[in-house]
């Protein structure tokens, strides 16, 4: 399967303040009543963006000035909680192509990587600088170089980190592992034959 090699992400950013943004907040469970991921982007951060009568709140995600943002910036332990892939799917379908935070929950990180959406970790000071930049000027362009993991705004550069395996699979276009997993099925069949199976009456 030919996948895009994700070596560089360039886009505008939007900042969501707070630590421990859980996947229930990214996509409330009631919007997971679906059998496809289509249209999930509409429900991204729904309860943050709406009042209980479904009218829109004054929130950064409702501000048209940020409607073109493709890089999300947030705090620690982003994507904690439920394993729902609906969360990264909603972000991706709402136009996000990279997430920069002070750290990610593990399942969310894996789910996002398999969608080709890099999750980069930076220090608190970098979040402060990036958030200040996009908040003061929504037109700020952020550039992420996946080769050297430098994040740039104009002349300023910041270091970021990502698991090396994830970086490798993103830049080589192997972030969806199905092709490689299928190549190994003969070995899988050998292992399946040697491991106990459930006594399936």
């Amino acid at each position: 399967m030919a996948l895009d090699k994700i070596t560089q992400i360039i886009g505008k950013g939007v900042y969501l303040a707070g630590d421990d943004i859980d996947t229930d907040r990214i996509i409330p469970a009631r919007y997971m009543k679906c059998i496809t991921f289509d249209g999930l982007g509409d429900y991204l951060f729904y309860d943050l963006r709406h009042n209980e009568d479904d009218t829109e709140k004054d929130h950064v995600f409702n501000d048209p000035i940020y409607s073109e943002a493709s890089i999300l910036i947030s705090g620690k332990n982003f994507g904690c909680g439920s394993s729902r892939e609906h969360a990264p799917q909603a972000l991706y379908r709402a136009g996000f192509r990279a997430i920069i935070t002070e750290g990610f929950a593990e399942i969310f990180f894996g789910n996002s990587t398999q969608l080709g959406m890099p999750c980069l970790t930076v220090k608190t000071e970098v979040i402060q600088k990036l958030s200040a930049a996009v908040s003061s000027n929504p037109e700020t362009v952020i550039s992420i170089n996946m080769d050297n993991l430098k994040i740039s705004i104009g002349d300023e550069q910041f270091d970021s980190t990502i698991k090396e395996g994830a970086r490798e699979s993103l830049i080589t276009g192997t972030w969806d592992p199905i092709g490689e997993l299928l190549e190994g099925v003969e070995d899988v069949d050998c292992m399946a034959a040697s491991l106990p199976n459930i006594d399936n009456q």
């Binding site: 009631r30 997993l181 899988v188």
Partner: protein
């Protein structure tokens, strides 16, 4: 140098290393439910792939099933479409499905163990973060995303990074009225909601050794709330006694062979861990959450934090949590009025949970203006409870007795909080909006503490409400 269980299971299930350094890991048992799987079956179809080992996948419905009626079609068309998609996908691919009329349906993490599908020394995966529950049996059990469900359906493997292992020893003796739920809430409070990122937690020590399988499941269930993708307890005589005779457990001569094999996976005495943490059982009191993540927890006699007295980097989180919960800084949690009491979920809806709550609720009545419900974790739990008369004890006390499902833990069904109702809940997450209302409020606690709150109409110490609590029946 010996090996720990995680290393042994990982090694035995490693197919090969992938080009990006991840492991192609064989999944011994795959569990599937209706919410996170339909897209995976769709992807499989799009790629023209088949389910490679249908006999290694088991499915049921839990998240969306209404708990007040078992009548189809459901009034919720979307829920109806989901259950029917699950049925069709299982039928088309030959996957065993525990349907709503099978007598075996329930929350997947309760069904797997009670059917004997969950076994030691294997890898288990499921598109649900509480899959860690199955680690109670000495399995390595992971919550996964939908694309990984596709990977497992197609290849019985997934691409994964190896985890580090943190051993958590709980030694000493728990005081009466302190339960497995308090133990795990305390662990998360001490180590933090992201303290387990990159780790599997191995729970052990005298307390875990004495715990029943159901108590071990409660602890392992909430590993993910501490950031750990997997959590487990080494298999022992308690594990084997629980499994013996279960429908899908090995039988006859295969049983002895299986036990010998399972024993070989237990961590060696001289094994290494990446980290070791010790917690004294005597330091744990009945614990309740006060905020909007499971690490924001205090003992029942403590006050909610004062933002001016917490470390600077926690101040914003504390303020946000207090605002959502509508709590004044530095005030006691005890005495907080509740609107709803919920006993249920994959954390605490097993027969021992219901028995313990019923034992003390008898002779008491739910406070006026409190809606209280008990939702058994599976149809088998419900049947057992009804045979013991627990349903009558609960209904006479003013609880609603419901059918098996996830119910109000995540409110993907008709059981929801309304407005800013406050719920005393035996579930696992107190996130904003988790129980179905964006402004709804959740306080996590043990089932007995929920029962106490239901009776008094406010957050209470079960030991005071019910008098002397006997040591839990292990």
């Amino acid at each position: 140098m010996g090996k720990n269980l995680f290393e042994k299971v990982w090694g035995a299930h490693t197919v090969r290393e992938l080009s990006n350094g991840q492991t192609q890991l064989f999944v011994g048992t795959h569990l599937v439910h209706e919410v996170t799987s339909p897209q995976a079956f769709g992807m499989l179809k799009e790629l023209g792939l088949q389910v490679r080992y249908p006999e290694r996948t088991f499915a049921t419905v839990d998240h969306i099933v209404p708990t007040d009626e078992n009548k189809e079609p459901y009034s919720d068309e979307l829920a109806d479409a989901m259950i029917n998609a699950m049925r069709k996908n299982c039928k088309d691919t030959g996957i065993t499905f525990f349907d709503t009329h099978s007598g075996k349906q329930g929350i997947l993490h309760i069904v797997g163990p009670e059917q004997g599908i969950t076994q030691p020394g294997t890898t288990i995966a499921c598109g649900d973060s509480h899959t860690s529950t199955h680690g109670a049996f000495g399995a390595i059990a992971f919550g996964i995303g939908t694309t990984q469900i596709r990977d497992i359906l197609a290849t019985q493997t997934m691409a994964l990074n190896k985890l580090k292992v943190r051993r958590i020893n709980i030694d000493g003796e728990l005081a009466p009225g302190v339960y497995a739920k308090d133990v795990i809430l305390h662990i998360i409070r001490v180590l933090g909601v992201n303290g387990g990122t990159g780790f599997a937690y191995e729970y052990g020590g005298e307390v875990l050794d004495r715990f029943s399988m159901e108590e071990r499941m409660t602890v392992c269930n909430m590993s993910i709330e501490g950031g750990a993708r997997a959590g487990y307890v080494n298999p022992d005589a308690t594990t084997y006694a629980y499994l013996k005779g279960r429908p899908y457990a090995p039988k006859g001569p295969a049983w002895e062979e299986a036990v010998e094999n399972w024993k070989s996976f237990a961590s060696d005495e001289d094994c290494d861990y990446d980290d070791v943490v010790a917690i004294r059982a005597e330091d744990i009191a009945p614990t309740v959450t006060w905020g909007i993540n499971p690490g924001q927890a205090i003992f029942i006699d403590e006050n909610v934090p004062d933002p001016d007295q917490v470390p600077a980097d926690e101040k914003d989180s504390v303020l946000e949590a207090l605002e959502h919960m509508k709590f004044a800084p530095g005030t006691p949690i005890k005495g907080t009025k509740i609107d709803v009491a919920f006993i249920g979920s994959c954390t605490n809806a097993r027969i021992s949970d219901l028995k313990e709550a019923a034992k003390y609720i008898e002779g008491h009545h739910v406070a006026p203006n409190v809606k209280a419900l008990v939702v058994p974790g599976s149809q088998i739990v419900a049947k057992l409870a009804e045979e013991m008369g627990l349903d009558e004890i609960f209904t006479q006390a003013g609880f609603e007795w419901r059918r098996a499902g996830c119910s109000m833990c995540l409110a993907m069904n008709p059981d929801k909080l309304v407005g800013d109702q406050l719920c005393a809940s035996s579930s696992n997450r107190n996130f904003k909006g988790r129980q179905g209302s964006p402004t709804g409020r959740t306080i996590l606690m043990s089932p007995l503490m929920v029962a106490a709150a239901a009776v008094t109409g406010e957050i209470s110490d079960a030991r005071e409400v019910f008098g002397v609590i006997e040591p839990s029946g292990v």
